[in-house]
Chain length 340, copies 2
């Protein structure tokens, strides 16, 4: 129940509290013999630094807040891991907050981080938070947006080029000789979905004789994908390729197409490509081609930029855009050697 403070350590080691502090923070300033003496005392008493006191003195904490839309999405947990790895090198820790796509939860986390005087904030925003982030910045807490750019570009951001990803997916389908393509995804109010579709449209426009049909969903789920897949399987005139807005949808489509009794073969009759390259993709009945996003790298980079902004608060906002990567597996190419 006893709480050991620097004072106790100092007494036990026969030095002053200042020296104890120096041993922990500037060991070079202390004579080696004294260092040893103090370290022995710390060991003996089981001293653990009180972070609150340190923070109070220091002005801000050693933690970085990270708010994500959905912790259950492997993409975001990978982002978190990337950020954490980089943070660890600076002696910072990540506090992971889950907004669950709820703007009020998002704001609650920002309040918490502000009270804790966080080192900085990484956020994948859902609501309109520019004013809130501006307030944080005025208090010396910089923020970097993840997976979405700020409307007025006033905050740094790290995103993935979803337009390029969509184009990449469809260009791959066209290169495989497909001409009647269906885009399955929605709602289009989701920024990422709209961009992927736009990329798809751009690719189609550049190739004569290729058509693009859009099946709008109200959620990016397996079930929604399955419904769309069933409706496609039931047609007499079928498309020869499907581009799903993410892998969950693609899995649903795949399940519906491969159902017993159906005569659709994937990829022979219909090629199928998803987006995100989640772990499930390579484990599907027919391994799924997909567009891979460098999630870990996004987190890593976002933290890197955050650190720079801590150093130079008046730096101009930076906008890093990663290019996604095409992963070809059997669902679009019968001869593909499926990568994991």
């Amino acid at each position: 129940m006893s709480t050991v403070s620097v004072k106790d350590v100092a007494q036990h080691a026969g030095v002053s509290v200042g020296t104890v502090s120096n041993v922990m923070n500037h060991p070079a300033k202390v004579a080696p013999a004294t260092v040893k003496k103090v370290q022995r005392a710390i060991e003996a008493l089981g001293f653990v630094r009180n972070d609150a006191a340190r923070q109070l003195r220091d002005g801000h904490s050693k933690t970085v807040g990270l708010v994500v839309l959905d912790v259950r999405n492997p993409f975001f947990t990978d982002v978190a891991r990337g950020a954490e790895t980089r943070a660890g090198k600076e002696g910072l820790s990540i506090i992971l907050g889950n907004s669950d796509e709820d703007p009020s939860r998002e704001l609650a986390y920002l309040d918490l981080f502000e009270q804790q005087r966080s080192h900085g904030v990484l956020i994948s925003p859902i609501g309109e938070i520019t004013p809130r982030l501006t307030a944080l910045r005025d208090r010396g807490i910089p923020a970097v947006l993840v997976d979405r750019a700020s409307p007025d570009r006033s905050f740094s951001s790290v995103t993935v080029d979803d337009v390029a990803g969509g184009r990449m997916a469809v260009e791959h389908l066209i290169a495989e000789g497909r001409t009647r393509i269906v885009f399955v995804g929605g709602p289009l109010s989701i920024h990422q979905v709209a961009d992927r579709l736009e990329g798809a449209r751009l690719a189609v426009r550049e190739h004569d004789g290729v058509t693009l049909e859009v099946i709008d969903l109200d959620s990016l789920s397996v079930i929604a994908g399955r419904k769309a897949g069933a409706s496609i399987a039931a047609r007499t005139e079928r498309p020869d390729a499907v581009f799903a807005a993410n892998d969950l949808v693609a899995m649903g489509v795949l399940q519906a197409l491969m159902l017993q009794g159906s005569d659709v073969r994937v990829p022979e009759d219909i090629a199928l490509i998803g987006y995100d390259d989640i772990d499930f993709a390579s484990a599907a009945v027919v391994p799924l081609s997909s567009i891979r996003q460098p999630a870990g790298m996004i987190g890593h980079t976002a933290l890197e930029i955050l650190l720079e902004e801590v150093e130079a608060p008046d730096m101009a906002a930076r906008h890093v855009v990663f290019q996604p990567e095409l992963v070809v597996r059997r669902s679009t190419s019968a001869s593909a050697i499926d990568s994991m």
Copy 2:
């Protein structure tokens, strides 16, 4: 860049710092008119409480540490959400740490929580941490184990009865008239897997003429399940039921059984049941029967116990064991109305 403190608020409102503090923490003690005056000042200056100072004075922080084995597992994110809901009511926040089943990461998080003087710690342990937790408790930071009991029962725990769950699954299969059952799962070194198998064995032992075969896997993944499923489909003498150690494995088995060209019907020829009831289960090609664990309730209860231990540190350790629940869908019962 300016940092507003209670002192500034007090000055602006024309009261003392003590009164400002009271407005925030014991509003009943302050005259309504004064409360309003102070609140206006807080608003005007944009005052945000410095948590570090509060914690320093208070002795411990308003955060609860939660260390989970794997953030990507929906079970744990649900546990986290349950704990968070309960914590919110007390004005506490959850700091989520991901040990990734790495004992050293686990210890690093415990160090962090100790430095932060956390209110308490919830942990789903991987390494041998009893001594570490004892040290924390000596410092006034209680801990509650989640999803695993402590070897010497010295710490409170909230778990699910995996033996009962395994028995439940197999008893359901038997009640559906199945007699040749295969258990697919592993490695048996995973505590939960071993318990589920033991439950299955108990159920089988009580019914004459029912056999149980074990297919041992080296991981609980879709791919491992698919391999096992393929080997089952290839047999001439097939079992009439499969109990998979978790839903990922079950999905893999299902995919293999339902492959085009196979003549196995689920559930007519082979009934299939999984474990965990992940979101995917109800979205499978054939909706999957499963054993549901009250993940949210586990988190909720763990936090509840933690709060009690904060109040009464010398309380005897409590051990709450939840009973899992059978969810019947079409994969075991053709006539089932699939619940979501």
